[in-house]
Symmetry: C2
Subunit: 257 residues, 2 copies
C-alpha cells in the first residue's frame, strides 16, 4: 500500500542538506522579546520587514505540505477601519501599525495536492514513487469527506474496524477534523510570523477577540475559510505589556512518561 511505503521506507534520494550553525542564545532573546503587546507607538513597520516576516511564516511545517494557510495584510484604510471595529476597537488592533489576518483553509487541499504533483516535475532530484502516489491516490481519500460528509462517516467506520487489529490513522473524518487540521498548520505559521517580527525588533499581538463573521465578510472569504487569528504588529508602547509573563508550574504541562 502506498501509505505504508511512504511511511516505512527511506528513499535513496541522493539529496542532503547541511544545517546552518545556529545560536541558541540569540534565539532565546527572540522568544523573551515576544510578548503580547496591547498598545503600540505610532512608529510604522517598514513594508520590507512585513514581507520578510510573511515569507518566514510560509516556511513553517504544515500537514502533508498542503499549505492550508493564507495571510491577508490589511492595507486599504476602509478595510483597516472595518477590521479594527470587528476587533472591538481594542488598542492591540487600533494602535497597531499593521494587521495581518491569518486564514485557515479546509478547501484548498485538492488543488494543492495536484500542485504538489506539478511541483515534483521541477525537482532537482527524482521524487520517490511513494510520494507521487501519496498526492495522487491517498490525499483524495484522506481529506475527502464526500457529499454531506458521508464518505467521512464510511471512513470512520472503516478506521474503527481496521483499528481493532492494527494501528490506523483516525482523522480527518468530518468537517470538524478538517477545521482542526487547517488551523493547526496555520497556527504553526503564525508563531513563525510573530517570532520573525520579534527577531526584527518589532512586536505583535495574536488576537482571537474579533467578530469572525464580519472579518470574513470584509475579506470576501468563502464559507470554508476560517479566521485562525489576527496578528497585529508595530513597536510596543511603554504601557504595551500588561504585566510579567504568567505561566503555571511546568509540572502541570510537561510529563515524563
Amino acid at each position: 500500500m502506498a501509505k505504508t511505503d511512504i511511511f516505512n521506507s527511506v528513499p535513496d534520494l541522493k539529496y542532503s542538506e547541511e544545517r546552518p550553525k545556529t545560536n541558541s542564545d540569540e534565539f532565546e532573546k527572540v522568544i523573551e522579546a515576544r510578548r503580547s503587546i496591547r498598545l503600540y507607538t505610532a512608529e510604522p513597520v517598514p513594508p520590507e520587514i512585513v514581507e520578510k516576516c510573511l515569507d518566514i511564516a510560509l516556511k513553517a511545517p504544515n500537514s502533508s505540505n498542503l499549505q492550508q494557510w493564507q495571510f491577508y495584510w490589511i492595507q486599504n484604510q476602509e478595510k483597516r477601519k472595518a477590521i479594527t471595529e470587528a476587533c472591538f476597537n481594542q488598542p492591540a488592533a487600533k494602535t497597531a501599525a499593521e494587521l495581518i489576518v491569518a486564514v485557515a483553509r479546509t478547501d484548498t487541499w485538492k488543488k494543492h495536492a495536484e500542485q504538489m504533483l506539478e511541483a515534483f516535475k521541477d525537482q532537482p532530484i527524482e521524487v520517490p514513487k511513494s510520494a507521487v502516489e501519496y498526492y495522487k491516490k491517498l490525499c483524495p481519500i484522506v481529506y475527502n469527506q464526500g457529499p454531506l460528509g458521508l464518505f467521512g462517516v464510511l471512513k470512520k467506520i472503516g478506521f474503527y474496524i481496521t483499528g481493532l487489529t492494527r494501528p490506523i490513522v483516525r482523522e480527518p473524518t468530518n468537517q470538524a477534523d478538517m477545521r482542526v487540521w487547517a488551523h493547526k498548520s496555520t497556527a504553526l505559521a503564525c508563531e513563525n510570523l510573530m517570532l520573525a517580527f520579534s527577531a526584527y525588533g518589532y512586536d505583535t499581538c495574536p488576537m482571537e477577540g474579533y467578530d469572525s463573521k464580519r472579518v470574513k465578510s470584509i475579506l470576501g472569504l468563502p464559507k470554508k475559510a476560517e479566521i485562525c487569528m489576527i496578528v497585529s504588529a508595530g513597536k510596543r508602547d511603554v504601557k504595551g505589556v500588561y504585566g510579567p509573563r504568567v505561566r503555571f508550574p511546568r509540572e502541570q504541562f510537561i510529563f515524563k512518561v
Copy 2:
C-alpha cells in the same frame, strides 16, 4: 461590561518591559535549519536540551493564557515502542532520539481560569479589575458549552441576534470550536518547540501520521484530550531530508488587501 473594558481601556499598570536586542540573521538561520527530518542518526539529545526546548514551548502565546496544552516526553521504553508502532514505525519516529506527544486540552480551561485568579494575587503589580472580571465572570460564559452543548446553542443564537447590530465574538459555541481553540494554542507551542530544537542544533519532525486512539490509550488520556501532533527529535541522518523545501508561489498565500 467587563468584556468591553478589558478590550478597550488601557490599564495604568506602572509596568513596562524592555525588549532584548534581537538578531534577525541568527533567527533566519534557525528557520532555515528547521526541516522535517525523516531519518535520524543514533546520537542522543542531552536531556537538559529537551527540558530547555519544552520550557521554550511553554512561552508561546495562547488563548486567554489558559495554557490549554500538555507535552508528554516519552521515556519509558515500553511506551516508546507502543507509540512508535502507533506511528506505523515510520523512520521519523523509529530512529528519533526523543518523542514528544503534544496534547490539546478542551477541558482544563475552568481550572486554569481559577488558577489565573490565584496567580494574580502574587503579581508584582496591581492587576486591573477588568482582568479579574474576565477570568471570574466572562470565561465561564465564553468557554462553557453546557450539558449536551445546549448552552453553546443558546450562545450561538444570542451571538447571531446581537451580531445583527454590532460586532460580537462568534466562537466557541460547540465542541468543534473548542477543539480548534485548543489545537491552535498547542500548535503555537509546538512551533516554539521545534524552532528551539533547531536553535540548539537538533532536528525535529512534526508527525500527524499516527493512530490517535492508540496514542491516547497508551498515555491514559481522557476523551477531551486530543493529540495535536507528535514531535520527534534527534540529529539528522545524511538521508534525513527528503528534498528541498517546496512552497507554492507566495502570491497564493499572501494577499495585500
